[in-house]
Assembly symmetry: none
Homo-oligomer: 191 residues x 4
DNA sequence: AATGAATGAGATTTCATTCAT
DNA sequence: AATGAATGAAATCTCATTCAT
């Protein structure tokens, strides 16, 4: 009945981009409003505060990535297939919209607490998946936490490198290589 | 390998810690002065501006890490030895003062430009080292950029994980495992 | 003596209450709309502006009280009867809807100008009534302004005290005592 | 060692006056700064927020008046003397600086809570003093709360009337008349 | 009649920096 | 060297009001 919220998505998109480009604290409400083509007050119709906006964008973005893991975990896949599919899906998402990934990387320091308590947060889940592959005998005995983190490091770093121009886009073309590296790491690791 | 500076000025130390804890933009001159136990004006005796202070701390910290690579690169080591020594030295530094590493991670977005142009910046150097190991036949033909980034990802992620409480300190105890993973990655990679 | 308006519009009632609870400037259009269960725009169907709404409520409330005096003044009553009836009517009104009284107390600072010019404003009227009682010999010679104000002070303070929980409601039960105090004050005062 | 706080009192005085003239919510930080001849930020060196400033001024002002009662209560005076001295002291303070009194009247609605819990708040004290005069037989049995409030009403209303130009300043010249009225009220009241 | 998104002006507050002491 | 009051600019947020729907 009232006006439709024409500018809501413009505001959120502008914010996401600016947060990535200049950092959260480095981006002012005015910056966001200008890029979105609205006045500063408009933002507050949709979000209680700048902080609120950041939180909203974070949860939205974070969820997008964490659901990939949850979905893949729902089907019973061999470890190798699981890892390779995961990397591919992950990089597909990245190529689709690198800003979303970059935004999560940038704010996780300050907001990860809100998610960490979640028993099913993606890192926890990933660790458990590696752990159960060890129990099933798919992988040798090893430091599960360390292996998980190292795999994660490889997957994330490729994205960071793309950002800095050190790897060519699209990232999906590296998915097989990275996936293979992850699997080999896990298969050859020793306790 | 240098010893840690036994006594940084209280101002610089407070700044470093706060920048890590709350971000650079999230930290005010007042915050720094308070933690250092001085007043706001005092900071300007030692640094022209906040920006100046950040730059100073960054260069100091960055140098500490990049020199490890330069030094190791000065001696002609086999690839495997090089990588393992590098990881060990790196983690020794990290354990000595995690704030320094975290600070570099945090501000590189904003300040890396000043360093990137440097032909001898550590990533460039690392990439060249992997590249020449391939040329010498120490490593099989492969995507050198990708391999370098994946190794880097593993090394850095372990530090991030420690920060988040997912890996137990000191990091040095993981140096051998991480070093081995890096070497195997490079050795087994294919073009 | 008029009956209370059985059904004020939700907007006006909400506004009245909020103005009393948080002050006029401390109450936003949004606050009013929320409590009334409508949206912000709706208010402007009924009142040109917030200022308009305040003025409307003030005049309505103020009139309610000032008419008591005018009516009583219309009949030729002995001073004592006049005062006692006045207090009783006044407190009856107060008990009926304390918000209305409190609202008048709160906004008189800002709006009294509009009324003060009125030659027949209640304070003026009251002062004249005391004055003519002196002229008629019903009361001894005295500082008429002072006496009027002291009587007024007693009557109003009982209401304030009720508000702060220092006198029990309903106020009407104190009307005789307060009325008697006013009369005695006037009767015993000296020039 | 730093600059002396030259502007602190100017800020507080300007605030006090403006709060009385235009209300607390009706006065902006800019208003205060302008009248004090400083920039807006200067206020925040001395007070954490506008709210803080209001609270500070209130406590300071409130204390000024409540100490009159406390001091007089310290000496064992007959009721009549006590009341007359109190009114005189009170009006002396008022004449000295009417703004202080008016400010307290204006903000008490919003801040009185902070003081009400105080067992020794002036209204409580006053009530107890009347009560003990009754116990001692100095006054007849009566509704102590009501009498106290009516006396208070007279004393305060004279000040309000001065503000509105209905009583001539200085108020001290009315002290005896008001004091006498208070005493007579208490002496003649009945249960 | 009503909605609620959006505006535009202004409010409070923060903060890097300067400067008298 | 150091202090901390004060500045000036900018940041976040509020809010009465308008207007397309």
């Amino acid at each position: 009945m009232g006006r439709p919220p024409l500018k809501k998505s413009a505001i959120e998109r502008s914010a996401l981009e600016l947060f990535v480009e200049k950092g959260v604290d480095g981006t002012s409400i005015r910056d966001i409003a200008q890029r979105a083509g609205v006045t500063e007050g408009a933002l507050y119709r949709h979000h209680r505060s700048k902080d609120d906006l950041v939180r909203h964008l974070f949860l939205e973005s974070y969820t997008r990535y964490s659901e990939v893991i949850k979905k893949l975990n729902a089907e019973p896949l061999p470890f190798k297939t699981f890892v390779q599919s995961l990397v591919k899906e992950f990089y597909r998402l990245y190529d689709e919209d690198p800003y979303v990934f970059q935004f999560v990387m940038i704010v996780r320091h300050h907001l990860l607490d809100e998610v960490r308590s979640d028993e099913k947060n993606p890192i926890e889940l990933l660790t458990r998946i590696v752990g159960s592959a060890v129990k099933k005998g798919e992988l040798p005995r090893q430091n599960v936490d360390l292996t998980t983190q190292l795999m994660l490091g490889m997957v994330l770093q490729a994205a960071v490198a793309q950002q800095y121009g050190r790897l060519k886009a699209p990232l999906v073309q590296h998915a097989d290589a990275v996936g293979k590296a992850c699997v080999e790491l896990a298969v050859r690791a020793t306790a």
